[in-house]
């Protein structure tokens, strides 16, 4: 059984069905204490400065993990920088398996893509179906953590982020990850609900905590969550991380990846965000975009379509929250608090 790297969420059932272990390169990059060094290494190798930090981090991270000999790379449904990323890996001798989410969510095209992946990894649809049943049980635990976050207010924004984002590869071991989540759910259920947070000296907000939505790709500075909670606000909706848990119930594995909103048009995402924002009673939304990302353009649609106060926050490198972002976040919270 070998390790297969991922550049983003793909039908991971196929990888488990083939008896392989998926490794979401994003997760090992960002949890490394040397994340910024990975970015710098990519720049030294020749990656331009004005390219997404995630792409550069992924590039070096894969090279630091020689046990990852194959990578499933998403060629459609994520950014086109991935194409060059795949090619630079290929030059280094890594085998690339391309996967494309059809832009128009065409079910036949998606089935064909999954079929090709099944063929490339040498497994079968039957084995994939069995894995779906197995993984859905693990995903249900992540859904429960999400519910405990927004409905019962017993889970922090960072905890929500961490468990949900990990559903892209289940940390390579769904059973162990399920065990971890069960334990966490038990602890969280015993907690007192969070209604009022300690308020920092600079803030004069009174009353209940502010409920925020975090939309866009997961942040390159996860310190954001604690910063918000120190200032009387909590993220109760992590949009894309929640998508990684495949939140729409269906028995059909193709349909599951069709309902998954992240790789398709922004409009399906907007619908999902609007529905959840209403259900979770959000006070405001942080739209996170990565520097140099095409999704920065989509910000204008998001602002137009969502009737909530929105702060567009840009992150570039894994070097923590900078003073300017803190200033902007504080101003946003003070605006919502008024």
């Amino acid at each position: 059984m070998g390790k297969i790297g991922l550049t983003t969420t793909v039908p991971v059932e196929v990888i488990f069905a083939a008896g392989e272990t998926p490794v979401d390169l994003n997760n090992i990059f960002i949890t490394s204490s040397e994340a910024m060094r990975r970015v710098e290494e990519a720049e030294l190798a020749g990656y331009p400065r004005n390219v997404c930090g995630w792409i550069k981090g992924l590039y070096s991270t894969a090279l630091h993990n020689p046990d990852i000999k194959r990578i499933v790379a998403v060629t459609q449904g994520d950014c086109s920088n991935t194409h060059a990323l795949m090619e630079t890996w290929e030059v280094e001798g890594i085998e690339i398996i391309p996967f494309a989410f059809p832009y128009d969510r065409d079910p036949d095209m998606l089935r064909l893509q999954m079929d090709k992946l099944i063929g490339a990894l040498g497994t079968t649809w039957e084995a994939v179906s069995l894995q779906k049943k197995r993984l859905d049980q693990v995903r249900a635990l992540a859904w429960e953590i999400d519910r405990l976050t927004w409905e019962e207010n017993r889970v922090s924004g960072f905890e929500n982020h961490l468990y949900l984002v990990s559903c892209s590869d289940f940390n390579g071991d769904p059973d162990a990850f399920a065990g971890e989540m069960k334990e966490f759910i038990q602890t969280a259920r015993e907690r007192e609900p969070i209604f009022q947070h300690k308020v920092s000296s600079g803030s004069r907000r009174k009353g209940r905590e502010l409920r925020l939505g975090f939309i866009g790709v997961p942040p390159i500075f996860p310190e954001l969550y604690d910063f918000l909670e120190e200032h009387g606000a909590r993220v109760v909706f992590n949009e894309v991380q929640r998508q990684f848990t495949m939140p729409f119930e269906t028995d059909d594995v193709v349909e599951q990846y069709r309902l998954y909103t992240y790789p398709y048009k922004v409009f399906q995402r907007v619908e999902d965000i609007a529905r959840e924002a209403e259900r979770r009673q959000l006070d405001g939304i942080i739209h996170y975009t990565q520097s140099f990302c095409y999704r920065q353009i989509e910000d204008l649609i998001i602002r137009k379509k969502l009737d909530y106060p929105i702060l567009t926050l840009e992150g570039e490198n894994p070097t923590g929250l900078d003073a300017r972002s803190k200033m902007r976040l504080e101003s946003f919270l003070s605006m919502l608090g008024d």
Partner: protein
């Protein structure tokens, strides 16, 4: 002198602005005593010293009297909080300053400072939306300073030219310099070159303004002293522009407004 002395400090990226105001308990009894501006680096080097996690300022050395209330804001706020005072978010300070200085309650505030550009929608005296520049300071005062030095004209003179701007397209303030030098070599007159520099600032601000409704723009920050930028912004946005009497001290004055609330424990009315 009766009343309370309130000091507002705006720790900007290029300069530190200090407003000293006196306030009585009556609504109209609030006046500016002194406004001071210091280079940021000089301020930290000569008058500041680190005291634990905070910044202690030697007010005596600066020639300032003992004050009853001290409120600070600005870029430095998240790095160092001023000792012996309260710190408030920057955008809030600017909103309070603009309301105090203009008497308006519904407007869009455009603050162009040394490094930062801020656009804030104020409705009924409250901030309801805002945008700030990020990762790029090409629409800031620092850009104007650099370009004035390339053109070898004082900053005040640069603001006299708004007509027939040369096209400057570089999105980077540093590359913009070499682009401007290229235009000098091509033989464009100073007036058109200077107008081109001023027009560039406006060109970068207009897309940010696009989503902000409201007919009145209150224009503050050091860049508001540039008459040509004011004129070009008015023409480009089609909105009425109000430049308050002290555009550069707006944040520091806003700090005093906040300090006054604390001094007297009630919200002040906006003066007419």
């Amino acid at each position: 002198m009766s009343g309370q002395i309130i000091c507002g400090i705006d720790l900007g990226s290029r300069s530190v602005k200090i407003a000293l105001m006196r306030s009585g308990i009556e609504d109209g009894d609030f006046e500016i005593l002194r406004l001071e501006k210091l280079d940021t680096i000089r301020f930290y080097r000569e008058y500041g010293r680190k005291q634990g996690e905070k910044l202690a300022v030697d007010f005596e050395a600066m020639g300032l009297p003992v004050v009853d209330h001290l409120v600070s804001t600005g870029y430095g706020r998240n790095t160092l909080e001023l000792a012996g005072g309260e710190a408030i978010p920057e955008l809030k300070a600017h909103v309070l300053g603009a309301i105090y200085q203009t008497g308006l309650k519904d407007f869009t505030l455009v603050d162009l400072g040394g490094q930062d550009s801020k656009i804030i929608q104020v409705r009924n005296g409250k901030m309801i939306d805002f945008m700030t520049n990020d990762k790029c300071a090409a629409s800031s005062g620092r850009y104007l300073e650099n370009m004035a030095s390339v053109l070898d004209v004082p900053l005040e003179e640069l603001g006299n030219y708004a007509d027939h701007p040369v096209a400057l397209n570089s999105t980077c303030a540093v590359f913009g310099e070499s682009e401007l030098i290229g235009k000098i070599v091509e033989g464009f007159p100073l007036a058109e070159l200077a107008a081109g520099v001023n027009a560039t600032i406006v060109k970068r601000i207009l897309p940010l303004l696009r989503t902000f409704t409201g007919e009145v723009l209150v224009f503050t920050g050091g860049v508001a002293h540039n008459h040509a930028v004011v004129k070009l912004l008015e023409a480009g946005s089609g909105k009425k522009i109000v430049v308050p009497k002290e555009p550069q001290y707006n944040g520091a004055i806003g700090c005093c407004v906040e300090g006054r609330k604390h001094a007297f424990g009630h919200a002040i009315d906006v003066p007419n």
